[in-house]
Symmetry: C2
Subunit: 334 residues, 2 copies
Amino acid sequence: MKKLINDPKFVVEEMIEGYVKAHPNHIKRLSENDRALVTAKNTAADKVGILIGGGSGHEPAFMGYVGSGMADGVAVGNIFASPPPDPILEVTKAIHKGAGVVYLYGNYAGDVMNFGMAAEMADLEEDIAVEMVVTTDDVASASKEEKEKRRGIAGEFFVYKAAGAAADDGYDLQEVARVARKANDYTRSMGVGLSPCSLPQTGKPSFELADEEMEVGLGHHGEPGIEKSPVATADKVAERLVNDILKDMPLESKNEVAVLVNGLGSTPRMELYIIYRKVEQLLTDRGIHIYRSYVGDYITSLEMGGCSITLMKLDEELKKFVDHPVDCPMFVQK
Amino acid sequence: MKKLINDPKFVVEEMIEGYVKAHPNHIKRLSENDRALVTAKNTAADKVGILIGGGSGHEPAFMGYVGSGMADGVAVGNIFASPPPDPILEVTKAIHKGAGVVYLYGNYAGDVMNFGMAAEMADLEEDIAVEMVVTTDDVASASKEEKEKRRGIAGEFFVYKAAGAAADDGYDLQEVARVARKANDYTRSMGVGLSPCSLPQTGKPSFELADEEMEVGLGHHGEPGIEKSPVATADKVAERLVNDILKDMPLESKNEVAVLVNGLGSTPRMELYIIYRKVEQLLTDRGIHIYRSYVGDYITSLEMGGCSITLMKLDEELKKFVDHPVDCPMFVQK
């Protein structure tokens, strides 16, 4: 696939360089590690630090979500690969204001290992208390009985949103971690893939699909889903995804939710809104109230085609956090 | 190409339906015409109305830019086709607060005709004063001597930004139109296409390119550019586009600009930031100061691959308008 890049070896460095240059008032790179970025804005004294991170290629995730109301810093990995412990530790040291740091990351073996190691180093070497919260929103990736094995996909956005708001509101370390875990517990996602992306280094498609085929339950790195089937209509796709989510997390009439229809990279907004139209119908038919909606590219996989649907069940506390204003380079909410 | 749609005949209606449902506090559809959308927020009495519009398939443009600080209403056409005069007129009537309405649209035959007819009807039938401002930022689409023949592409975003801010600041009809025309005069864009999109109705690619080929100067509907050439590195592409822009609009050391690196639909943000990195170098080398930057999908062509670069030369007045806060469903600036 054609790409607007220079040397494939340096795509992440060059992206970061461009990013920092484009948003100098928002973000800065730590001199200690060029994969360690932190907010350029002043944060409140004693605020719990929010640290996010993961592989590159998911932009706006993860680095786009550093700013007021979301994360204080991000560790940036290679494409679709976890960052090593070093940048995580450097960000931890930089954003620790005495109140500790919460790590938010998806449930992938590399991330679990590297964030875990960094947390241990932060504790032992720097005496910084760290709480780790692993996101597991993808219902397609494991059964309900093995929920802890599930991958984190677009629902991570809601976990960042809730935890970032709680930290901004002055919650302490345990409380921010509690809010993040609750947000994850209340959140379910499921996606569908229509076309692969390709890694800059190889130029090869990340998975194979026939001409008229889609993959239901596809992961954010092209991990296989539940089944391959002919491309269905937007309405059928929305129905399938919403039904699978509701089977896993039953909602009742009068329940309130936040909805995210997330594009994987190359799916036009037109299609995402057509999907949203049906999601709204399905929820409204069940008496479920949509409190707030997000439609767009929130966590992508380079130029992958397809989308995911995420529902977060809301209580009064989460509603407050969903409403909390955000000012990040790639996401602003008034 | 695979698409998440239902009946191709109704993609625009269903997109609008989803859009209005997703953002009920921001936008509403006029009962008079289902292609006529206006802001759901209260606007100041006597504020000049800002009306934008054009074909669908360019989302976030055009309907994503209705909201505080940008447009008050939008007329939505079919995919890549101008809206007819009716929705334009209905929006005009709805957003006219006694101070007149400014139409902002790209320089395409259909738009020029339909917005012109609507303006005439607004004047004759409704006694509403309308100023029309046509955007012509694409340097690749005609020579400098025939600047008035140029197409409007991503630079329209800056024209909306400036005019929307001026209207919000209480400028009168003539003054808002002056600001919009100045923004257009001070703005130049140029793009490069890597891969086509396909229309839902036909499923056919909008243009043809060989496997390793790119099209320099491509238009937003697949209009042919200046030349086809092998895909170059991001740095070479940025250099070519910036140089062609600066040849057309010479800038001096200490000049200030706003920069927009716009994705056409399926180009990952990673690549846009790699392009931005070089744009920043090229401008900085010339002593040109970047006052503010925008990197992302601002005016797309469904899932087309490629990007455009836009520079708007700034004076004190335009800087103020660039900084003006915006709250639209698809674009928020604090």
